[in-house]
């Protein structure tokens, strides 16, 4: 087993990994940028090292500096978390070339799955269904011809893409040239690669992903699905498992396809295979994420497995101790990602107060604490709220309760939006498609009412605080000098009339 792991990340996921290291008795090293000095993850780790200025490129993406730190501090493995260097094949290779373990899959698997077109080719070969599309050329003429064949509406997607970047829905041929151009520009900005491809647009799809896990011996199992249809601008905001859409047969078929997808690239460690499912229950491979995902805790809740600890064990060469037949889902879990949101744009500023809910079946994975500053430099996801209920209605009730107890003051968060989504009748019926948010919540606005109670509480707290400050301003023992005449005076308050009845 490893002696010391460097965590090449920040925020809640760095803390999640540090906890796993602590449980396994492994030392941990946190890295941080100047903007994150003193933040929670740096305080929790055994050691922490400054790696550069706030810009991600100069800090959390600076692989040379990270490797230097790993050597200086005697680490024998690096966990990349998610985002930043997690799906960077060159980094995975560099870590291993430097004689350290990379806690994740092989560079080769990352490379294939990182290219949407290479992944589609590999999946077709492995017999995993993919969405019909065109990826043979980037020439506008050829793309226009192919588009007519696929039919409209269709999707323009970035080959190196993810998170909806460089993606466009095109309704008709006349809109295609402009969509190609803007998708290319966005892709170039986001990924440094402007290649795009076309895909048939699946109307009203469900977005369902399967967690898979592989070990060095070539064994691969799936840990069931996560329903992640509730999205905004192609970013998942609520996920749950089991999916209200799947029955036992479909679950088994998709699980088998997910395992086949992973085996096709000799996948080891944790990964996620994403599928689109249409109204007729046809499913298509969408992409594979070659890392631990943000939403992994719901899988942990229903399977009882600790994915991060298993990532570490598998990377250290241990075999998986469970087989497909022995795995089952227990209960129903839901997760929320807490983004500070100003309208829908992320907010920044100091977190004046953060109070997390506690109770049976409630878990919070957070990267912040009261007094922390949310800066503009990084992803706005600051915390995740996860609940486990006996069944879906129970989990929904628990989520509603937990959200009510979750208090973040100082930055505006998306808590009210998420609460309104989960209490919506269509959501409660399980009618979750990727269009849910635009269908029901396109014009959503925070109620924004200011109640008498809120005003009254603010005024009371202000008044009592002032009173206390005045008392502190002239206390009897304001000095530590025991001979000070102030210590001899009887109790009195400056400004108060003596002899007042």
């Amino acid at each position: 087993m490893f002696k010391k792991i460097l965590i090449a990340n920040r925020g809640e996921i760095a803390i999640r990994i540090i906890r796993a290291c602590q449980e396994l008795g492994i030392s941990s090293v946190a890295i941080y940028s100047e903007a994150d000095a003193g933040s929670l993850h740096t305080l929790m780790a055994g050691e922490s090292a400054l790696i550069g200025p706030p810009t991600a490129a100069e800090s959390y993406l600076n692989s040379n500096r990270i490797l230097e730190v790993a050597h200086e501090l005697g680490c024998d493995a690096i966990h990349p978390g998610y985002g930043f260097l997690a799906e960077n094949a060159t980094f995975a290779q560099a870590v291993r070339a430097a004689g350290l373990s990379f806690i994740g899959p092989s560079a080769e698997a990352i490379r294939i799955m990182g290219s949407k077109t290479a992944a589609r080719t590999a999946m077709r070969k492995a017999g995993v269904p993919v969405v019909p599309g065109y990826q043979d050329s980037n020439d506008n003429e050829a793309l226009l011809v192919a588009a007519t064949e696929i039919g409209y509406p269709l999707l323009v997607k970035a080959i190196a893409g993810g998170g909806g970047k460089g993606m466009r829905v095109v309704e008709m041929a006349s809109a295609l040239p402009e969509a190609l151009e803007s998708a290319r520009r966005e892709a170039l900005n986001a990924f440094g690669d402007d290649q795009i491809y076309l895909e048939k647009y699946i109307a009203n799809p469900h977005h369902i992903e399967f967690q898979i896990f592989g070990d060095d011996a070539g064994r691969v199992v799936h840990l069931f699905e996560r329903e992640c249809s509730i999205q905004r601008r192609h970013q998942k905001i609520i996920e749950e498992t089991p999916s209200p859409l799947l029955n036992a047969t479909l679950r088994q078929q998709m699980g088998k396809a997910a395992v086949a997808a992973a085996k096709a690239v000799n996948y080891a460690n944790a990964g996620t295979v994403e599928f689109l499912v249409d109204d007729e229950h046809n499913f298509y491979f969408l992409e594979m994420n070659t890392r631990l995902q943000v939403e992994h805790p719901i899988t942990e809740m229903v399977t009882g497995l600790d994915l991060v600890k298993w990532q570490i064990r598998v990377a250290a060469g241990e075999p998986l101790s469970f087989e497909q037949e022995g795995l089952s889902q227990r209960g129903h879990a839901i997760i929320y990602a807490e983004d500070p949101a100003n309208g829908f744009l992320p907010d920044i500023g100091p977190v004046l107060q953060a109070i997390e809910p506690v109770g049976p079946g409630i878990r919070v994975d957070s990267g912040i604490t009261s007094g922390d500053e949310i800066t503009m430099h990084y992803d706005p996801m600051i915390a995740k709220l996860i609940v486990l209920g006996e069944n879906r209605p129970d989990a929904l009730r628990k989520m509603k309760w937990a959200l009510k107890q979750y208090i973040i003051l100082g930055v505006t968060t998306n808590i009210p939006f998420l609460r309104d989504v989960t209490t919506h009748a269509a959501f409660r019926r399980g009618e979750t498609t990727t269009h849910f948010v635009e269908q029901y919540f396109a014009d959503w606005q925070s109620a924004g009412n200011i109640s008498d109670t809120a005003l009254l509480a603010a005024a009371l707290s202000e008044m009592l605080d002032n009173t206390q400050t005045n008392e502190q301003r002239y206390p009897e023992a304001a000095t530590s000098d025991p001979y000070s005449p102030w210590g001899q005076l009887p109790k009195f308050r400056v400004g108060e009339q003596i002899g007042k009845e």
Partner: protein, 169 residues
């Protein structure tokens, strides 16, 4: 003793007066009277009994801003310190027909797509911003002429910083 506080809620100023009698408080909000007892007072938390109903409330302050959490709802408003401060704040306005477009959040200017003197259509993208890994567009709220372009590519801008001024025809 009566203490008075003023808060800005939308366009309105709400006045809260508190009359204290030991641990009993008579609080008037906009003329509505509430009888309040404080059960518990923490650093930021208050457990109140308001007209016989128990409520757990959290209050935090940052400058003039007040943040209150109440039954899962966060309410945000601003303390008004004096009439003068209020006039100053409301006095900030723009000349008729001239619109100053500001950054809605701090970020980096990716690209400026217009020059001073350009005629622009309503909805036309003027400036591309990148903030928190997202591309944001600053678009023209109406047709007009670009009077001033106050930013350039690569520049870091603060929230509220004016980027472009457009004059309607």
């Amino acid at each position: 003793m009566i203490t008075e506080f003023k808060y800005q809620v939308g366009d309105e100023i709400k006045t809260v007066t508190i009359e204290r009698d030991g641990n009993q408080f008579q609080v008037t909000v906009d003329g509505r009277v509430h009888s309040v007892t404080i059960n518990q007072l923490g650093q930021t938390s208050l457990n109140l009994e308001i007209n016989g109903q128990q409520q757990q409330v959290y209050v935090a302050r940052n400058g003039s801003w007040r943040y209150v959490a109440l039954a899962g709802e966060i309410q945000v408003f601003e303390r008004v310190l004096s009439n003068q401060a209020r006039r100053q704040r409301l006095g900030i306005g723009s000349a008729i027909g001239l619109d100053s477009l500001a950054a809605t959040m701090p970020g980096v200017v990716l690209e400026t797509l217009v020059a001073e003197g350009d005629q622009v259509e309503r909805g036309q993208t003027l400036v591309l911003l990148e903030a928190m890994k997202m591309e944001l567009r600053v678009t023209a709220p109406h047709a007009g002429q670009v009077r001033k372009l106050l930013c350039s590519a690569g520049q870091t801008v603060e929230r509220g910083q004016i980027l472009v001024e457009i004059e309607a025809e």
